[in-house]
Symmetry: C2
Subunit: 121 residues, 2 copies
């Protein structure tokens, strides 16, 4: 299959699955309980859960005939780390550009501004 990060992002790219995650954040639930609000078959929900499980977002135990679904918080960190890393870089770059523009505005527009930009990279 694909790498874990891809699986996690793909799993959350579906509104039904995101909604299930949101509900599982409140409390564990069985497949039937999870399926109740949606106008799709139980099998479809079962498939969605498989996707979430493969992504490591949920785990399942057995309890009599039921299979309670539990949200695993750790995988979220993987995403958050990835996102935050590049968001920070992008924002830093944005601030740097702001500084450059401010410098260009303050000083005479010479090559100083572009030098600053290169030096910071």
């Amino acid at each position: 299959m694909d790498d874990e990060l891809s699986r996690v992002f793909a799993a959350l790219a579906d509104p039904t699955r995101r909604d299930m995650v949101a509900r599982l954040a409140v409390r564990d639930a069985t497949v039937n309980e999870l399926a109740e609000p949606y106008a799709v078959s139980l099998q479809a929900i079962s498939k969605h859960l498989r996707v979430l499980e493969d992504a490591g977002l949920v785990s399942r135990t057995r309890q009599a005939q039921q299979r309670p679904v539990h949200l695993e918080a750790e995988v979220f960190d993987l995403m958050t780390k990835w996102i935050e890393r590049y968001r920070r870089e992008a924002e830093e770059r944005y601030r740097r550009l702001d500084a450059v523009l401010a410098a260009m505005d303050a000083n005479t527009p010479t090559e100083t501004a572009t030098d600053q930009e290169r030096g910071a990279s």
Copy 2:
């Protein structure tokens, strides 16, 4: 189409697109520059960029024949907010469970523990 959050998650579910985002976090780039490292056609990269653009992750301007691609950091916040919200809920629930277990360990294991859990929900 789907909602924005779905588009963003779906866009980042592809390793090539995530890699492009990573590189765009460092500096803007043209389609040709972006395509260079990958063993796929230029048209495939063009499609990937369309996906990223539709998700609001990148923007494009025109500069002579080139179309420089620029990473937009704001959309990352949308994801981060969604993720953090449910991660926090899940972790809080986990801590609560820990407390319950600790209480069960400390006191005589009566119905006190389960009462606490119900009361906290």
